[in-house]
Symmetry: C2
Subunit: 277 residues, 2 copies
């Protein structure tokens, strides 16, 4: 899915919401516990209930890997079930030497048909480039994350002898030349809305994937007013707040209500930015 | 496997060699191409032919993920086939917010019984800690890697206002307090033997996982003279140089010869360091 197609979906639905499928088998509603295909059926019900109000789904690979090969099979079937109208993100945080990153790119862009994968920047350009080589696929590079550990390295000062920049700023500036605004996005943590202005100065035109409304604590209003650009430019993710909105038999219905609520807010924020066409 | 058990195996075998199972289905010998279980049977033959001369195996998850769920199943069976006497590393380069890293730790330490996993440091302490919480399991954190991209971030100067350090030095120093020399190792790239002295100054007692002899170009002699400590303190990995030593029916035999050659060298280097007990 290219940027124009993604943007069209966003304005069509009035939503830049991404639903995170971080499905933990231990947190399924009681009535599903005896279902031999419980995780897949849970995901399917969540997708059915939310697809009209969101534009993307993000599958967190860790939760599926914890189930072993069977979990990978559920991940594959879930990815296949996501409608072609929706942007499919593998939240995998991969990254290795080029030879190995090529295999990860193959896994998520060919063996599975994801539109995007999250990637960690530590190993530098040649660890990222194999992902960027795919046409109409996206690399979502970690910029500034929402967790406490961001202070350990991401927020440290990098000195080039002339000026100091934060590591995450260096990552965003340097990697911008490896890809384009058509194939590279950044993960920008939502609990730091005060820093969104600064991040938009560094990357005025890149899409940001913003985790962290709901369980991780960010405010949709703060994020949107700081980071929205003319063609939207952000995907805001909610995982636990949506998929565990209810722990009962009405989990899908409640998930639907949650995303409908987010979508209503988003539609308003978007209307303030919509190109006057 | 704890440090003492690992060290005992090293001195018993006179080897600190790790064999990397980066098995690419497209590079299998022609006579295996028609085998429906070719990758697993290739791995098994490699393990049988090399186990007397190495102390560890490293499974590169990317190559298995490229095969989808079927690849994960081959990875699991390969991990089970590795003898209990050998240190089992998942070369996975994972790392995410704590809640997610806990799931990765579960995947590799519980669902599969790996002794160690490689982890990327970018997201800081809370992304690493879930791995360190497992008893007798090891977290192998990326320090300085052997690829060209190391210059992009790892080798950049971090400034704390008083002094400049490279990012990888900051990673090693800071993370040393999160774990111990009994549960934390570092990946240190072998094409930079000139920097091993400096790295040993930062971490005099940690084990290093050293990728890059063979295909990535490091010298075993340089690495060993700079990084060996009294209880060894290094695992040196060879992947492609071993598993693709021959592209014919004699692939396992040739892999065995390669590792036997490495082991003979290693035995000499070790004898110079062996504690006088």
């Amino acid at each position: 899915m290219n940027r124009q197609e993604l943007t069209e979906q966003i304005f069509l639905k009035g939503s830049y919401l991404c639903v995170g499928l971080d499905t933990d088998p231990q947190k399924l509603p009681p009535h599903l516990q005896s279902d031999p295909d419980a995780v897949y059926n849970f995901n399917r019900a969540i997708i059915d209930a939310t697809k009209d109000h969101c534009v993307a789904y993000k599958i967190n690979t860790a939760f599926y890997e914890a189930m072993g090969a069977a979990g990978w099979e559920i991940m594959q079937r879930t990815a296949e079930y996501i409608p072609a109208t929706h942007f499919k993100i593998a939240d995998a945080k991969r990254g290795d030497i080029g030879n190995t990153s090529s295999q990860y790119a193959r896994a998520f862009f060919e063996t599975m048909n994801f539109d995007a994968i999250t990637v960690a920047p530590y190993m530098g350009e040649d660890s990222i480039r194999p992902f960027l080589e795919y046409e109409n696929k996206w690399t979502i590079l970690l910029g500034l994350t929402s967790n406490a550990g961001a202070k350990d390295f991401e927020l440290q000062n990098i000195s080039d002898g002339r000026e100091n920049k934060k590591l995450y700023e260096t990552v965003m500036e340097k990697s911008a030349s490896w890809g384009t605004t058509e194939n590279l996005m950044f993960v920008i943590g939502a609990t730091r809305a005060d820093q969104f202005q600064q991040v938009r100065t560094i990357s005025p035109n890149h899409f940001f994937l913003v985790p962290g409304i709901g369980a991780q604590g960010g405010s949709l209003s703060d994020i949107s007013s700081a980071a929205l650009i003319e063609d939207c430019g952000i995907l805001v993710n909610a995982s636990r707040a949506v998929i565990y909105a209810s722990s009962g038999a009405d989990f899908a219905e409640m998930a639907g209500s949650m995303v409908s609520g987010y979508q209503k807010e988003m539609k308003i924020f978007l209307s303030l930015k919509k190109p006057s066409s």
